[in-house]
């Protein structure tokens, strides 16, 4: 068993309205960051978990995303794995 650092990136489905992103975008503009073209807001989950292999860790994380972490109807997710600290 080894400890893995998992990073789960969850973002709103393409085409779905992202009111928060919209609000942040216009806030950045009123702060004169005119170079910003778009903002999408998602969630970032950092997990530490024990697994015997990178594959095992990924499989577990994927399972968690489907069961709990991500909303299957409104969100997409990506999983990134690094070795534990």
């Amino acid at each position: 068993m080894k400890e893995y650092d998992i990073e789960v990136r969850i973002s709103p489905r393409q085409g779905l309205l992202d009111p928060q992103g919209k609000a942040i975008h216009s806030a950045l503009h009123s702060l004169e960051f005119d170079e910003v073209e778009s903002v999408r807001v998602g969630r970032l989950l950092r997990l530490k978990l024990l697994a015997d292999s990178t594959e095992g860790a990924r499989a577990a994380a994927d399972d968690m995303c489907r069961k709990l972490l991500a909303n299957p109807v409104t969100e997409d997710y990506e999983i990134a794995i690094g070795a534990g600290a």
Partner: protein
């Protein structure tokens, strides 16, 4: 007393503050739209509750950049009285006018109910109508009222009498169960070093009429009225 109530897009307690001051207390108040750059003739600025900019990103994070906020900062820097209620408290923290921050309630749930708070320092412009130790019943209605700050800041606030309101049981005891949102040291309201800027999560403007359940919050506005009309001894935190 002539209050300027700031209306941000998404503010929804501005009207309640207005009514508490005009109808109940019989003093004058007016609304100031967040796009204004001046406050006009006023001796009290209120940042009301609500969801400025939908609380998107972080509660109060976007509102603090509204044009009017420069004027509010200047007003406060000159010793002007500023009261931030709920979302207003969050704006004050985001703007650095009060220390610490308000994060998501420990329960992760929005909480709309009555709580008891104890007056920890009755020697301020905002609380002189109360007795220190007095227990008040007020409404809370927030999802991000969990006050956090580092230990040094917390110790400093405590030792200088800058914790003005604290969540307690009906009989005035500080307990985990009486703390609705996980706030460090059960802090419900704090004041700045100059004693002229106060932020609190409970809604005094909702507790100003017996018909609506409690009039305990009226004291906050009465305190300010007394303070501004010179009837109360001018007090700055830290003197105690």
């Amino acid at each position: 007393m002539n209050a300027a109530i700031i209306t941000f897009p998404g503010s929804n307690c501005d009207y309640d503050c207005y009514k508490a001051i005009t109808d109940v207390l019989g003093r004058s108040a007016r609304f100031v739209w967040h796009r204004e750059t001046g406050l006009g003739e006023t001796d009290l600025v209120i940042l009301p509750g609500g969801f400025s900019y939908g609380d998107y990103l972080r509660a109060g994070a976007i509102a603090r950049f509204s044009p009017i906020m420069d004027a509010v900062q200047r007003f406060a820097a000159d010793g002007g009285i500023v009261l931030g209620i709920c979302n207003g408290f969050q704006v004050l923290c985001e703007a650095g006018m009060l220390p610490g921050a308000l994060i998501r309630n420990e329960s992760l749930k929005f909480l709309g109910r009555t709580v008891h708070v104890r007056v920890e320092n009755a020697d301020t412009a905002f609380s002189n109508a109360y007795e220190t130790g007095q227990v008040l019943e007020m409404h809370i209605a927030h999802g991000d009222g969990n006050y956090v700050a580092d230990e040094d800041t917390l110790d400093m606030l405590e030792s200088t009498g800058r914790v003005v309101f604290r969540y307690v049981t009906g009989s005035g005891l500080v307990t985990a169960a009486a703390n609705p949102n996980g706030s460090m040291r059960s802090i419900a309201g704090i004041i700045n070093e100059g004693g002229n800027v106060l932020g609190l999560m409970p809604h005094p403007e909702r507790s100003v009429e017996a018909l609506l359940g409690s009039a305990d919050g009226l004291g906050v506005f009465a305190s300010l009225d007394a303070h501004l009309s010179g009837e109360a001894v001018q007090a700055t935190a830290g003197e105690r």
